[in-house]
């Protein structure tokens, strides 16, 4: 059996002394797309931030393995350089820093850490042109300050653009679909689909089944009250759309 790309083992996580995740187990193999669904406050965002290494979250028990190695002691930048990418639910603004400058610095920091040569200005521009087409992002946005004055949809598109530029091995998308109109949703989905590859895995966090119409997941997990209460195929998402989460909550309570 091959080692999964990502393995979350009995993960307990607290923030400011309150436990939010109560023993999450998850295994994602390279080449797969997994969706995590659940109600507000069920711990979905927490899970994505813990995998990416946000310093506010304390792991009290359990482990997160990436390519078979524990990463919970690693700095966020080290995880990023190892190929973990998180598309944020609420992308932050960085006033005065141009998108292009930021991305080139980030990309070159990652390349350098892998012992690859840094991209020259011309090579970088080439790559930008290619990837901008992929996610249909306006070139004008690229020269503006990171997310400053962007609409909600533009911010999300920008996240997917960064994803395309950085080409990670594990891409985690935290509610990238929320707040998007149908055209933007399709663009985002097309971007993700075009990046699917045997060596790359996706973890999609979403409220709605809608996104999964465009991106076919291999597995769907339901996170409720800090635990994964049910896993299944893409049919599970359709079931949730139809029946809501209440029946699962009951099931979880009686289990």
């Amino acid at each position: 059996m091959t080692t999964p790309l990502l393995e979350v083992k009995d993960l307990h996580v607290s923030v400011d002394g309150t436990e939010i995740l109560h023993g999450v187990n998850l295994s994602v193999a390279a080449g797969e797309v997994h969706a995590i669904m659940g109600t507000n406050g069920s711990g979905k965002s927490t899970l994505t931030k813990v995998i990416a290494g946000h310093p506010d979250y304390e792991i009290t028990k359990g482990d997160v393995l990436y390519k078979g190695k524990s990463i919970i002691e690693d700095e966020p930048e080290d995880r990023a350089r190892a190929g973990i990418f998180l598309a944020f639910q609420y992308p932050v603004e960085v006033p005065g820093v141009s998108n292009m400058y930021f991305l080139r610095s980030a990309l070159n920091a990652q390349r350098k850490s892998r012992g690859e040569e840094e991209l020259s200005g011309a090579q970088f521009i080439e790559l930008v042109k290619e990837k901008a087409k992929l996610v249909d992002i306006d070139q004008g946005l690229l020269n503006r300050s990171v997310n400053e004055g962007f609409s909600g949809g533009e911010k999300k598109r920008n996240e997917i653009f960064q994803l395309a530029m950085l080409a990670p091995t594990l891409a985690i998308l935290d509610e990238t679909d929320s707040g998007l109109d149908i055209d933007a949703l399709k663009t985002v989905a097309d971007g993700v689909n075009s990046m699917r590859a045997t060596e790359r895995a996706f973890l999609l966090v979403t409220h709605y089944q809608r996104l999964l119409n465009y991106i076919q997941p291999d597995q769907v997990h339901v996170l409720l009250g800090g635990r994964i209460v049910k896993s299944g195929g893409k049919d599970l998402a359709l079931q949730l759309e139809e029946k809501g989460y209440a029946w699962l909550e009951e099931e979880a309570a009686t289990a």
Partner: protein, 480 residues
Amino acid sequence: MTETNETVQALAEQEYKHGWSSEVESDQLPPGLNEDIVRAISAKKNEPQWLTDWRLRAYRHWLTMPEPDWQKPKYPKIDYQNIIYYSAPKKKPTVESLDEVDPELLETFEKLGISLDEQKRLTGVAVDAVFDSVSVKTTFREELSKQGIVFCSFSEAVHDHPELVKKYLGSVVPYTDNYFATLNSAVFSDGSFCYIPPGVRCPMELSTYFRINTAGTGQFERTLLIADEGAYVSYLEGCTAPQRDENQLHAAVVELVALKGAHIKYSTVQNWYPGDKNGKGGVFNFVTKRGTAHENAKVSWTQVETGSAITWKYPSCVLKGDNSVGEFYSVALTRDHQMADTGTKMIHIGKNTKSTIISKGISAGQGDQTYRGLVKILPKAHGARNYSVCDSLLIGGKCGAHTVPYIESANKSAVIEHEASTSKISDDQIFFLRQRGLSEEDAVSMIVNGFCKDVLSELPMEFAVEAQKLLGLKLEGAVG
């Protein structure tokens, strides 16, 4: 007492043959300040009587002035009788190559991107014939003098261009101006002088790289820049490299005169020793800088203040002529126990005068800073306009930022706008940038440089890149 006076007398009478640039080892006056000392300084520099008298008037006026204490950063009492007011520049110890220089200093140079030749100059490495600083200096001076530009030490100017010095010295900052400027007027050691003739655009940035006699003149420096009608000059002062100095008090005076239609751009990067982590030591940078803009003239100040234990200065513009323009772009960074009380004064006298103030303050650690600025519109300044932006960025929970704008308008047609903001570097911003692969330090540096962009973009290109790196370096270890 008599002995001291005799020594002073003897020193004063000693003939000053070779001009300021000749180096006489251990040529200094005893500590303390009195009229004899002021006379002795003047005599040492072989100054004409009018300048000796000017210094004495300043000294006598200084005696009547109380030391100000309205500023926010307080400092221990300075013993003015314990300062040595004249000391000839000592020869810097020369080393053979950069291999003999403190590796930590070299690493800093490396990070700042300072060229090898510049590194050698800063560390006192003996330079080879091709890059001999004297020959470089001479070459540039020749090129400048072809266009009639005078660029020399203040002392040289006193001898070679007395009419210009006499006409403009104290014309912008009179010797009665303020406690520290008045002290400077009495005891100033040396500095730079620059004159650009009418209609001439100075073909290069005049920078400290080619400055004469900077070593050892730092404490009471005096700079006078005159741009004649329609002339343009861009002047750089300071250096991104860390500068140490035994003298705690620095009280410099800079006077700019922009005659009709002239444009002076004055840029400063200040990185004096800030003291140790506990706030011990460090330079007190109490400087008076002011420019007068005549009709259609423009005076622009850009400053990046990152050093000193206390920075206390207000580079100002007197907009005397109609349609004159004043600009002030400032980045001040305080960390550990550094304090800054800085800003500008824009005095609108002429009609349709315009001023712009962009101030960016960054505080980290227990750093504390105050933006203090005055916009004053006089009764005849019809159609005057001012636009001010004062932004503060806080890093961590123990630092402080204060904004104290003074606005006085005596003309109803004036339009004055003031914007101010205070923000913190958010953990989410840092996490976002780290998630994309940047180190924590690079993330902070990127956020800070973004915050300062509007000011840094005013600096001459090369300087801007160095200044950006400097801000990043200064913040190392300031977060987390």
